[in-house]
Symmetry: D2
């Protein structure tokens, strides 16, 4: 991580030749003080908790994009962002968005909250017993919390939300999980709490019913959030729009006026173009659980004229980023190195800082793609960079 | 790929030690006749069309699971499936599902169709001109098809569906794309078609409005499909349920009765547990665009009693698998090797065969997770294998 | 209302002749002690607050169905339910459901809660000011509540839920509204609260943004509830299924197994057949705002085998019934008479009792229609009663 | 109906006194040549096919609003629209919207298509047989159509859409139903077709699975339409905005920019404020099945600056209006009289004309409510007219 640009060249060298790659590694060294080493490999014995039946390692192409200039609650300054992808144009496009937002003064980003839940359901003989259960839970919240939190050093049970559906009761156990993404943490804590409840009440439960919506898009996740809830915004100046993005603020009008309706008409969850691309690329490089992209691709990308319509305000609201900076794949050597590059390996708020970087990076990709669609560059860029 | 088990040991060796990894590689050699080589690396000049700004390769843990026994329209016999993940228990769980379905006689799987679209929108001065445009399109379909198909060797324009929303008209260009996932193909073809229409009618367009729902979950994708539409089913016998899955058919009743309602109540798109895990793991190993997991995690997992309730019928319907066996990341050496392991590098239907393998593998993971939730093993497995 | 059947004939006389109508009125007199008088008309000066530009009254066909036997938290005993409709078979079908559930021992019904909201949004210059606003609201909740509640005798502000989306903040003001449906009450109270906030902070607002989802179906309303949240259940015995509903428990299996998936696949909000029919019919007869049917038709109808599968448990969960027993159309003479017939004009919980009757009546219609689909009577009933 | 304003006073007299009501009836006589007679009552024997168990008639307050000036494909000229409601301010608000659009030159409205479906599902032993069934249907489409159409004089089977879900197959039978709303017509025709298929193939079916989404909101209905699909638009001039609606085009900006996102975030089906109010009011007055409001309240209301932002383009797209001008409640005397007032009782396209009037009237109510929210009049109007 780098807090200010101390006379360094802020443009990442381009090109597909070995010397270009070498030049970029040197750039990363200067910029982020990291010696990128892709020969780092974890020992097989260290893969416990990561993978079973392993037969080796897949070599996944890795790139860096940036610098990304942020004014965040947790993430401040310039960042060089590591990504992995096999989609041609993605790195270039994200890089362009970072360049454009930096030239416009950077991105303001705010972490709003972090919560994650597990939602077991209890089964009752009838709705009378089921609805009486609600008050039992309310009355025993203290004991339940003690049991749940006894299983974890960092997780905190924030509250239990109760949903009565027929003669079933869903208990949505909502936790904060510190720097961990926390899915395993809340599973273990919720299991302990449910065993306690079962022992006290004799009612049976199953630990999941799909109500927690993990690993899939859902209306609940939009409304309630899941993981980190973050908002990012920037104002693209008319010069940046013209010089870097090949557009003008007024050209976005048709998209602004019609886009949200097209999204709703198609029944899209959320209104955004392809933040899944940015999430996937960063998650891969940093040891996140990439399958969570299915539940995290729910943002709201909003565009509006600014300063009498010559500039463009663009923002991205992501209600669900289930990421962490400890545990799981973040233990792997290269993935950890990449988190270090972002300055996200230390401190009690490192996962919040990381979430801010992810949201802002996703906004950059949205900006670049939106501009490409509007200027007509989209297809030509893919025709040029998306094929051999 | 292997069409029958010729006296080979069908159990993949276990363990986290280097010699265990070696034993598994030997097993793969015997089983699929592939020498897994994770030192294969592509040259930087060969990464054009794959990634820009590359700085090296990320070492992503890779495993094999199987054998997966299939009776498909395209996929027949036993398969050893390569996966990448950083989520502990995933490989073991998918392997267990494959073992259970194989012991039950395998999985029947049927490819239903393959279609993918791009959905530009045209803007009109008023709804009169907008609604008249519909018949213009109908009248010029032949010319539009010629222009669109002139840009591609393999893509075919199947039809154009027309949506009138206010004074905008969305044209959903629906293509078949042979063995390619086809997103770039349809972008380029649709752009050409739109330029033709614009020149003929003088009406303006933008090439996307989010209506095609690419890279995000949507109701449209469920209803219309996107990419490969595949269905898989199996009947788990009471013995398999007991011995391998630690459950019984009747234990699934509460989940069967309540699960779909919980999914709907939470506003989940689709009704399935975590096929995103299976999709991500296979997509990574085979060079697919993993960001598509966001739009592909939409299946329907259904369970019902069978043979008077002692056995269990489980099926998975996946309306959207946007995968291919040519182009993009499938060009990379290791990824190609993994496709070879599945016998999916040759023939005009290789992507359909691949889609059948993916759907069936996802069903295996669903079966194992469902069983784990129901037997109570879920949390303990994660407590054991999901942490160091 | 009638708490027990004191030797009265519990079957409503049938037929389309004037003497049949007369016989039914006499039945109502005996059963509910109400002289149904359809010559009651309100004076035009009394229509203020009900309708403007009035030119007379529409004669809408009215019927009674019942007796409906309930074991509710608020509704106890037998009820004769007034309805209005122009859909042939509806009255007969609802009546059949009431007959079947009464023969099975009646319907258990539980009112869970009552809450209704108005959701204005405030606009900010940037996300920094927007996210800081959250704590301002938390810090001034007491004052805001005082202002809001100063506008109403019965409404109570339960809490404010805060949603940050880009640089906008939605405040969801959640009220309990006693026996009123409460839409006007919360509009007026929320307006006062927003004016206070605007004066204190200088930030601008609009009083609605569609976020409250009134008068339309929404995922938020399912998850959060809107108006009365009620659950009803019954167990249909094998004899009732056979004699009254022309089916057997096992015949429901295909519907139970597939129905929820079909609903989800089509992107239905909720999983139920046609509770809108029951809601509309009762709302009309009792002076409710019938347009609310759009937001209230969101229930979950669930069926499952019971007692080793010979009986059938059927339940209905309705998260949103925005009804009241005071104000609006309930002031009109006939409508008030009909509420009296249900014993819902007095007491602090009359709207809760009313909501229980509505949910249970809707369950009756669901049961009858489900049975008709399964037995094959559905089409023949409509062919016979749905046409002249 | 009236095609031009021949020197008549276009303002409906106001007031709550008997003489005001009388004046309005005279206005209707002059304007639409209809003697409104609210003593018209149908004979009980004529209620067969409309209602069972009838005990009389409910007196529902009725009003007229207008004139509504239309340039439609089927509806041309000025209309006086009959409505029923018990929601104070509704008539006044709709009237204001009609006044404003008329002063702006009227509303352009276009009927796009009319289709309605019934969706039975067939059950199969396995997915092999299920997927083979698709081609059987394609091969026998002619015979199936003959059987289906043999049950109806006016219905035409347009096509069958096939959905494979697990080992079930949904057949969506899509009909045009001429001037009937057509729900009974398609039920009877589909039943006949399914019996034929069952006899030929021995596979079992149920006539509904909720897939047709009748009487509930659904994503399928938005995407596919259900009933009449209509679009209406108008351009409000700056003078009209100022004088009649107490606003200016620029004041709508916050609503335009944020509203669609708020709707999506809440998981609303569609993006509109309260077209259910307009639909309910007109449906009641004209003998429609009001329960269909649940499935028809799905429009898209769009606002955008026009003529350099001084004027305002407002449009409404309604993909589902399941209304008719024959059958059901349209047989009742007063209801028929009201359809006559709209000129919708004759001609092969009367239901299309009627649908255009409904869509345009709904747009008027949307315009008035939007303006009221934006100007701050909304709450004060309800405080004044929504209470006694």
């Amino acid at each position: 991580m780098s807090k200010a640009n101390n006379g360094r060249n802020s443009s990442i060298p381009r090109g597909y030749h070995p010397e270009d790659t070498k030049a970029r590694k040197e750039w990363v060294k200067k910029y982020a003080n990291i010696d990128l080493d892709d020969n780092l490999r974890d020992e097989s014995v260290d893969l416990k908790g990561i993978i079973e039946n392993h037969v080796g390692f897949l070599n996944l192409p890795m790139a860096v994009v940036g610098p990304l200039l942020l004014d965040g609650k947790y993430a401040q300054g310039e960042f060089c962002v590591p990504i992995c992808t096999v989609e041609g144009t993605l790195a270039m496009s994200m890089n362009r968005g970072m360049y454009a937002t930096r030239a416009s003064g950077g991105i303001r980003v705010r972490h709003v909250r972090q919560e994650i839940s597990r939602a077991p359901f209890f089964t009752f003989p009838d709705i009378d017993k089921a609805t009486r259960f609600n008050s039992w839970i309310d009355d025993h919240l203290g004991e339940i919390r003690d049991v749940a939190e006894s299983t974890t050093n960092h997780g905190k049970l924030l509250r239990i939300e109760i949903y009565n559906i027929s003669k079933y009761v869903v208990l949505d156990f909502i936790f904060s999980t510190a720097n961990a993404a926390g899915q395993n943490m809340v599973t273990i804590a919720t299991k302990a709490a449910c065993e306690y409840i079962k022992n006290e009440t004799s009612f049976h439960y199953l630990l999941d019913s799909n109500f927690a919506s993990d690993k899939k898009a859902s209306a609940k996740t939009i409304l309630k959030g899941r993981g980190h809830y973050v908002i990012a915004e920037t104002v693209l100046t008319s010069q940046v729009l013209k010089r870097i993005l090949n557009t003008a603020a007024k050209d976005f009008r048709a998209m602004q006026e019609f886009g949200p309706y097209a999204s709703s008409f198609a029944g899209n969850q959320g209104i955004q173009l392809h933040i899944s691309n940015a999430l996937t690329a960063i998650y891969l490089a940093t040891g996140q659980d990439v399958a969570c992209v299915a539940e995290n691709s729910l943002g709201y990308t909003q565009i509006k004229g600014f300063n009498d319509g010559t500039d463009l305000h663009v923002s991205l609201t992501t209600p669900s980023l289930t990421v962490g900076t400890v545990g799981g794949g973040t233990r792997l050597k290269q993935q950890r190195q990449n988190l270090e590059m972002l300055g996200c390996t230390q401190g009690k708020d490192s996962s919040k800082k990381f979430a801010e970087i992810i949201c802002a990076s996703s906004l950059c990709l949205e900006i670049s793609l939106l501009s490409a669609i509007i200027s007509g560059d989209w297809e030509s860029a893919h025709a040029k960079y998306g094929r051999r």
